[in-house]
């Protein structure tokens, strides 16, 4: 009986710990991104509010909460309200399967990787529904792009991970990390890692692949009509998916929590942080491709490469026996 209670307490601690950390880190990321972008553009970035501008996060939050909660007359109100919550919910749900360290992690599913793929595929409903319910032509165009982009990039996102699954012999993320004890999957699966990273950028609608938003063509794309905290939710969702993709690349290709000397959680955090910085660097450095270029790149380059990676990995595994 006592051990049962302890188990439940541990599980609850894990759940709320992961939830709080994820949301807090996301909030910090809005500041971190602007700060880093500033450094890369030879300017200080937000540094006025609090030490190093850290309180900027709080200031932004207060601002978003106190803005008018506006729903346009021409919008489909229930769907319009529902849409921003979906991206938050699915992305947070996907965090469930991430093993942060041997002790931390919400659940170990046999189908952990598939669960993540399902959740990231569901996240697009948020964008498409929000865009559709806005009743705005720019939002609709953004939604169309989001749908096409996600469908195209989802395909090889899944395929690029199959190499890892073959090497580890499991869909369970914890077993995948354990399988990397003799060397990260980054080396044998370099191609898979690169493809997954590109697909991850497309999935989280980050620059340079943020065509659903594309400020200079579509005003603000799918969230043109959104304001206040509803807009904030879309934003938090975007940053959450950056964190999620970084955490997954860490788990799948960089050996998760594995590493010498430092505690496992620190290793995980360090690797994830480096990847998040890479995401921000991509935003700072690269321009957005044209829409047809994006589609052509996805279907004509990334998909064949992902298939090639799959075939080569399979062949090598069979040849080795």
């Amino acid at each position: 009986m006592n051990t049962g209670h302890a188990d439940i307490a541990m599980t609850l601690l894990n759940i709320f710990g992961v939830l709080t950390t994820a949301v807090l880190l996301t909030a910090l990321l809005t500041w971190g991104e602007r700060r880093l972008l500033g450094f890369w553009q030879d300017r200080p970035g937000p540094n006025r509010v609090g030490p190093f501008g850290l309180m900027q996060v709080v200031a932004d939050m207060i601002k978003l909460f106190f803005k008018e909660d506006f729903i346009p007359r021409f919008a489909d109100a229930p769907v319009f309200l529902l849409a921003p919550t979906i991206v938050m919910a699915t992305t947070l749900l996907a965090f469930v399967v991430v093993p942060f360290s041997p002790a931390v992690g919400v659940i170990d599913m046999h189908i952990g990787l598939l669960f993540f793929l399902a959740m990231s595929a569901l996240a697009v409903y948020s964008v498409v529904l929000g865009a559709y319910a806005s009743g705005n032509k720019y939002a609709l165009l953004g939604g169309l792009r989001a749908a096409a982009q996600t469908v195209s990039y989802e395909v090889f996102m899944g395929l690029s991970l199959m190499g890892v699954v073959m090497l580890a012999g499991s869909f369970d993320l914890r077993s995948i990390v354990m399988a990397q004890e003799n060397g990260w999957f980054l080396l044998p699966q370099m191609l898979g890692c690169a493809i997954f990273l590109v697909a991850g950028i497309a999935e989280s609608h980050r620059l340079p692949l943020d065509l659903p938003e594309a400020e200079h063509e579509l005003t603000a794309g799918f969230h043109t009509e959104y304001s206040g905290m509803k807009f904030g939710l879309f934003f938090v969702g975007e940053y959450l998916s950056i964190l999620l993709i970084s955490a997954l690349v860490t788990t799948l290709f960089l050996g998760g929590w594995l590493g010498p000397w430092l505690p496992p959680l620190v290793w995980f955090a360090l690797k994830t942080f480096a990847l998040v910085c890479l995401f921000i660097l991509l935003r700072a450095a690269l321009p957005r491709p044209r829409y047809d270029q994006l589609m052509a790149f996805g279907w004509k380059v990334m998909l064949p490469l992902a298939l090639l990676n799959l075939v080569v990995t399979g062949s090598v595994l069979i040849w080795r026996g």
């Binding site: 500033g38 450094f39 890369w40 553009q41 030879d42 300017r43 200080p44 660097l281 991509l282 700072a284 450095a285 690269l286």
Partner: protein, 171 residues
Amino acid sequence: MISILRSLWLVFRHLFTRRVTVEYPEEMPYLAPRYRGRIVLTRDPDGDERCVACNLCAVACPPDCISLQKMEDADGRWRPEFFRINFSRCIMCGLCEDACPTYAIQLTPDFEMCEYDRQNMVYEKEDLLINGPGKYHEYSFYRHAGKTVSGKAKGEAAGEAKPVNVKSLNL
């Protein structure tokens, strides 16, 4: 592919370059002595207003923000009855300073002149006049000009010859 990696690297290197931002209220930027900022009206070395209300500055002013009215005082000097600059229009071009024949109107390296009320941007003569000669310490218009004012008759100005009595000439 190579170009993408190269631009990533180039941008990353900017992490270690000096930032160009000057954090203004704490850190004042250097302004050259001849920076074109707030406009002042200067006085000559004797402490009199230099402005002779010739209107050349108002004519030169592209946004027409200067307005003034001439008057002549008891000792024969010309001066502005009022002199008004609307700084909400002024573009700090310095053409008034170029046009001024008496060095009266000058631009200073000061740009901190924000107001909450637009009407406060209209500066009157009292607001514009300063107590010194500005950039030209020695110059005084009436010491050079041929115009008669009280205390200086014809021919007494610097570099001016005595007036010639045309009837005394033997032709």
